[in-house]
Symmetry: C2
Subunit: 187 residues, 2 copies
DNA sequence: GTAATTTTTTGATCCAGGTCAAAGGAAAGA
DNA sequence: TCTTTCCTTTGACCTGGATCAAAAAATTAC
């Protein structure tokens, strides 16, 4: 729980009242390596805060798994549109390694939004960070060579890239895995 | 002003008290076609709501203007990271055609966030929409042919694409303008 | 510890689309 | 109206990286 409180405080001061509510409403969930956390045939009702391990957001395109996002320690993972609008969407979530999470049900989140303006502010600000990250990534993907895409990836995920299977990294940055394998070995 | 109130209400009910504050704090600004709205050498202190016309967010890469976003009627435009964090960033904003806007200063926005939880909710929800849009775009850009990128663009900007110069559209979807010109004429 | 499965590497081929160059059209200024 | 500037089209060429195929290496399961 502490890891989450710390993350929260880095955006917004955290009151004891909210701390107490969060403690009673967030549930621990563990996932084994390879385990599915959320499947595309369901509506996503929980958001997962990663305490230890890595979750992955992905979808299927022509049988292939395309990685959209790696959720490292200290990050929230869910199927965004499904979670926020309570509709079905194309995304899956699974665990890349054994992972410990705290999860929050959408109903509890809505309760907190309604009763703690600081919660809403936290959501706005942390979404802002992710948003900025996404914009950078968009730029990195549009006008760069495979090499530059890989370098940009190393800049943002350098600390965990050795824990991520090559194929997942390749689909994340939008190149063929053979190309990525060659990049790794050249020079 | 009405156009903005309408847009706001589509996310969150708008109280009269907030309506009044917004009315007194939002300033009308007009821009002529081609005019710079925000330059990368400044910190972005205002966000612009487009009432009529089109604004464009872009940056320079090797002398070339790369379009990041088209701000159509009913949308907010600013240099996102610069505006939210009050730091310099690489983005410019200009007007693609004669454009009428309402602008809100970051200080006023902060005041509204502090005093009207509904304002913060509106920000969170509307950012959520943009976020979803960005994710789709990211997908559209990674694993598709030039043709598919263009089709995806037409789906989201079909109503205004004839008002956008070809070169800007090409850089927005991440292909060469010669390729886009050929796509338009094939079949 | 060995077999089965999955992941990564290496090789060979090929083409979508980028780049360079130049002509044609449209719009804006004078 | 004419001229200049900007935007779009067309042509020719070439390369980065995708695709297909198969071997090698690493994990996982038994």
């Amino acid at each position: 729980m502490d890891k989450f409180f710390e993350s929260f405080s880095s955006y917004v001061p955290l009151s004891n009242a909210l701390k107490k509510e969060l403690s009673s409403r967030m549930e621990p969930h563990s996932f084994a390596k390879g385990q599915i956390v959320h499947s595309a045939d369901r509506i996503c009702t929980r958001s997962f805060f990663v305490q230890e391990g890595i979750l992955r957001l992905y979808f299927l395109k022509g049988g292939q798994e395309i990685t959209e996002f790696f959720g490292n320690t200290g990050e929230w993972v869910n199927s965004p549109r499904s979670f926020m609008k309570q509709v079905e969407d194309i995304y899956y979530v699974d665990a890349i390694e054994d992972t410990e999470t705290l999860s929050l049900h959408v109903k509890d989140l809505m309760f907190l939004f309604d009763n703690f303006p600081e919660m809403e502010r936290y959501a706005r600000l942390s979404m802002g960070s992710t948003f900025a990250h996404l914009m950078e990534r968009l730029t990195s993907i549009r006008f760069t060579t495979a090499r530059e895409k890989y370098d940009h990836f190393l800049n943002t995920y350098g600390d965990i890239y050795h824990r991520l299977p090559l194929g997942m990294v390749a689909s994340y940055i939008g190149i063929a895995q053979e190309t990525l394998s060659r990049l790794r070995h050249e020079k």
